[in-house]
């Protein structure tokens, strides 16, 4: 009758032996898809701003669409970076305390980076 020795609850949760399911994999792909669009936008924006002075660059980032896309770009880029760096650390750092410490450092750095970036864009966009 019973063909699977796993607890049915564990199967229903779908978290597997790594205990966190496919969330990491899936988020990495979602942010990748977002970044395909956002990176193209970012490169075009930067190339268009070459040779412009401070006021012009600032005025360009202050435009609503640019400000919105820049915030989206910052969040997606840092999120995607952390997910990628996490895998690299898991694969290559075999000393447990160093692994956990680097994981904490990159995550806190990314949160700080996103907050600083978003605040910077808001200050530019709202003129303060």
């Amino acid at each position: 009758m019973i063909r699977d020795l796993r607890n049915p609850l564990q199967r229903a949760r779908g978290l597997g032996s790594a205990k966190d399911g496919v969330g990491h994999w899936w988020t990495q792909r979602l942010t990748a898809i977002a970044l395909v669009v956002l990176v193209l936008w970012f490169v075009v924006l930067v190339l268009g701003l070459l040779g412009h002075d401070y006021q012009a660059v600032r005025a360009s980032i202050a435009r609503p669409w640019n400000a919105l896309l820049m915030i989206a770009f910052i969040i997606a880029a840092f999120w995607h970076s952390v997910l990628g760096l996490q895998v690299v650390i898991e694969d290559y750092v075999h000393t447990r305390w160093l692994e956990v410490t680097s994981m904490i450092v990159i995550k806190l750095l990314a949160v700080a980076g996103v907050l600083a970036g978003v605040l910077a864009v808001l200050r530019i966009a709202l003129g303060s």
Binding site: V43, Y54, M70, S81, L85, V121, I124
Partner: protein
């Protein structure tokens, strides 16, 4: 956790180099480089929000010879990770796994990223000023 002495899988130096392997390694390497590069973008944005002086020091570093070399390298890293990342998304959908297709696609990532990098910098030097 006990440190066991069981054998580990062979590492890089044991394999014959091939394009599929190079693109896989480069995807990670460029990803790490781009994570560092995102901090430079962050510096630029924060400097822009702080005022003309902060922006001027950011601009001076970015436009210095070393800055330009790094930006050139980052441009290639970005385009490689971009093209190869799209290739990964395509493969995640279960397509492109025939060996010949796989090899062609790896070369597409390598050559395509170089061409896009040259095109980007051709625009920088010829069209957009600097």
């Amino acid at each position: 956790m006990a440190q066991t002495t069981r054998p580990l899988s062979p590492h890089l130096q044991i394999y014959k180099w091939q394009s599929q392997m190079v693109t896989s390694i480069l995807h990670r390497a460029t990803g790490i480089a781009l994570a560092v590069g995102s901090l430079v973008i962050l510096w630029g944005l924060v400097a822009l929000s702080m005022g003309p002086d902060a922006w001027a020091s950011f601009h001076a570093v970015a436009a210095s010879p070393l800055g330009l070399v790094l930006l050139f390298a980052w441009t290639w890293a970005l385009w490689f990770h971009f093209i190869n990342g799209i290739r990964h998304l395509y493969q995640d959908a279960g397509a492109g796994y025939a060996i010949s297709t796989f090899i062609k696609a790896s070369w597409f990532s390598i050559i395509g990223s170089m061409l896009l990098t040259l095109a980007t910098w051709a625009y920088v030097f010829m069209g957009g000023a600097a």
